[in-house]
Symmetry: C2
Subunit: 173 residues, 2 copies
């Protein structure tokens, strides 16, 4: 699928068919993720592929009862390695680059999923402490997004975007 | 260009031909940016298209003398609107969603640029206060990245990535 088609055609999908997503497809998504750029090529990311029903159920709970999370065949939890980024770049690494680098990786996953006929949704609203406990992450590994994914069972229309004239400035703000 | 080809083939480009980048191409990149997902579809982003030589020069200075910034025909400065995100989501909106949403938009720009034969580079290392002053941004508008871009005059090899086995975990960390 063409890049611009994927960028503009991607939707947040929250309803999934029961069809299983093959392991090699999930790995292809994570392969796409790791080709994101990162500050100093530090690659401060880790990916947890969650398929166990009980863990998905608890993640949905931690995510303020967004029940579609447990209905997805797979959830990829993307984590930021704060230590990796702060070792290279101090506080700016920990609070900025680390979040940006993993967000670029997440966007790659969403676009790759779209191009492979999968649906996915970027979930950022969850209780981090609960997610950490469920996923048994070490202290420096911060879960920054859950991505439930599967074959889509809905086809939502595009959501309205701000006009270009509202968001473009020239030379200065 | 195919999504996965762009994701894996994109490189950070720091050397540019003198050839001008047409305005409509730059707008196409920002059009791609605004199709990124954002928390609650809040779209907390603003884009400054910098073409004036003097401003590019000062941005390069603010970016710790990364002189390739002033040599690029165009620099897109991506800004995060902290107020937009914090109004919707409080502190988590300001320090997390706002950064993630703009990072996804930046990744869209880099991929769209690659697919259109342009080269670009994500610059995150700069003195924010200096950048704010140069760009005359209001208080709530935070410059989060500079993207110098143009037709590439180099073709760097891929940089090494961590192996999938190092970054993939199953069900828990």
């Amino acid at each position: 699928m063409d890049v611009l088609t994927a960028i503009k055609g991607r939707r947040s999908i929250r309803a999934f068919q029961r069809k299983i997503v093959p392991e090699e497809i999930v790995e292809e998504l994570i392969d796409a993720a790791r080709w994101a750029p990162s500050a100093g090529n530090i690659q401060p990311w880790e990916f947890i592929i969650v398929q166990k029903q009980e863990i998905k159920r608890r993640l949905a709970e931690a995510a303020l009862e967004q029940s579609f999370i447990e209905e997805a065949p797979v959830v990829i939890v993307v984590c930021a390695d704060e230590k990796r980024s702060s070792t290279g770049y101090g506080t700016r690494g920990r609070v900025l680059y680390c979040i940006q680098d993993t967000a670029a990786a997440i966007q790659n996953i969403l676009l790759a999923a779209c191009s492979l006929g999968l649906g996915a949704c970027w979930v950022g609203a969850f209780k981090e402490e609960e997610a950490r406990e469920i996923l048994k992450t070490p202290r420096e590994i911060r879960p920054v997004a859950m991505i439930p994914l599967g074959y889509p069972d809905e086809s939502p229309p595009p959501r309205k975007r701000r006009n270009l004239s509202q968001i473009i400035h020239h030379d200065t703000f």
